[in-house]
Amino acid sequence: MLKRVHFPTSALPYLLVAPQILITLVFFIWPASQAMYQSFLIEDAFGLGTEFVWFENFEILWSDRHYLASFQRTAVFSLLVAGLSMGVALLLAGFAQRVVRGAMFYRTLLIWPYAVAPVLAGALWVFMFNPTLGIFPYFLEFAGITWNHYLNGTQAMVLVILAAAWKQVAYNFLFYLAAMQSIPNSVIEAAAIDGAGPARRFWTIIFPLISPTTFFLLVINMVYAFFETFGIIHAVTQGGPGTSTTILVYKVFNDGFVGLDLGGSAAQSVVLMVLVIAMTVVQFRFVERKVAY
């Protein structure tokens, strides 16, 4: 943590950390503790008074059918986004790793969606699936499927999952490729000499060896699906139709900024914070174990 050789104590280190600490305090620690404090308050509808209610907001949440449904929806959503984007990325990385000529070419063409904002990904997909004009509904019609994600909750969910996964494939692809390239060639060659074909080598050698990366990506992708997909949901479905795509982070925003239920929204924030902290701790332990100083 600290260098063996270091500078003597003076005022300088305080000056050096001051900007970071100041910004952290003002824009991070203070708002986060406010969120926690607000989660213990109930404000009356006209904003005239507040009452300190301890855990009532949380109790309301746990007995709220909509909140629990949103929890479940978020779990389904994140698992599908993570599964889809990691699966496609693994497939592509597995093949890209075999390519010698044109490796750079493929890599460039596969990683750029990383740079696309989630809300733009949403706009692209909502345009392709526009019920009256879009390309896909036009072709789906031939298959006997009537597409209208403004009316059909399941279709709306499919659309946001596709958009969210599309954007995330690039990121997962990079990590899988890096992990596969760090496997010593001799291991794979030895297996080939023993007569293992490409598919068998993949499942018995490569896949187990990259399992730490898989675990790491799973956490990263869950966090991504939990938070960063807000833009996609907001642009594509606004949580609807009904509440069929209202995932947790959208509900925090919706209840807080639109519904003005400050206490309830804050309580939801706190639940989300606990979730992220848990995920970050898991991830950090993993990272600490992997990184050698």
């Binding site: 950390v17 620690i29 986060a32 890599r107 740079a115 692209l124 004009l133 990079l174």
Partner: protein
Amino acid sequence: MVENRPLTAFLTHLVLILGVIAIALPVWITFVAATHDQLRMNQAPLPLWPGDHFLDNMKQTLFGSGLSGTETAPVWLMLLNSLAMALMISTGKIAISLLSAFAIVYFKFPFRMTFFWMIFITLMLPVEVRILPTFEVVANLGMLNSYWGLSIPLIASATATFMFRQVFLTVPDELLESARIDGAGPLRFFFDILLPLSRTNIAALFVILFIFGWNQYLWPLLITTDTSMTTIVMSIKQMLEAAEQSPQWNIIMTTALLAMIPPVFVVIAMQKLFVQGLTETDK
């Protein structure tokens, strides 16, 4: 690779090309939409091949008054706002993180660990979960509708500090020892030795943070009400909403294309650094 059979080679390229097509398809469709006029964009099925209105659409999007019937800032101003925000976030974050990582790694002082944990905690809380109170703070400080309000609250994050801490920890101790024997003070050591040594990390981080800043959505949406402060990414949503009344998909998709080009360009131009940064910061 190990064996070289034509069939597997063919299969490999086939899968990769299919992957590239699947990844590129949405953007191809966007591009095609940006090359047709409004009339054509309102007839189903939509075209799959580019038309000849690309320059017209570009001109109308960049310098026109946006969509008819909506009051938005001109797109060139939005691009400028996004650029300012992305640059302020990336340079600001790199600057404060370099300094604090330097202090934490190279100095022994009271409350060192307290500061470390204070910074560490921020790693865990995305802006989305503390959005209301943060909004209040910014409003109370009078920073709504300003570049400061857009960027400073997003500068407070720990990832960059952690990366630099990691980088500094790999710098050999002998360097500091010899620098001190030569009579260099802490600042001299920082600027002459540490900064040059972390050059590639700074560049890689810059790419990542630029994209992070450019792609911000919820935050600018909340704290800018003045149309002259709109960023390009957040304008897409307003345009999508307006599309329900007067669908000008050619203009919307041209805007989407414009919003996508700078970050994608940065990633492709600095691919090597970016890949290195991505695989090394998070692991």
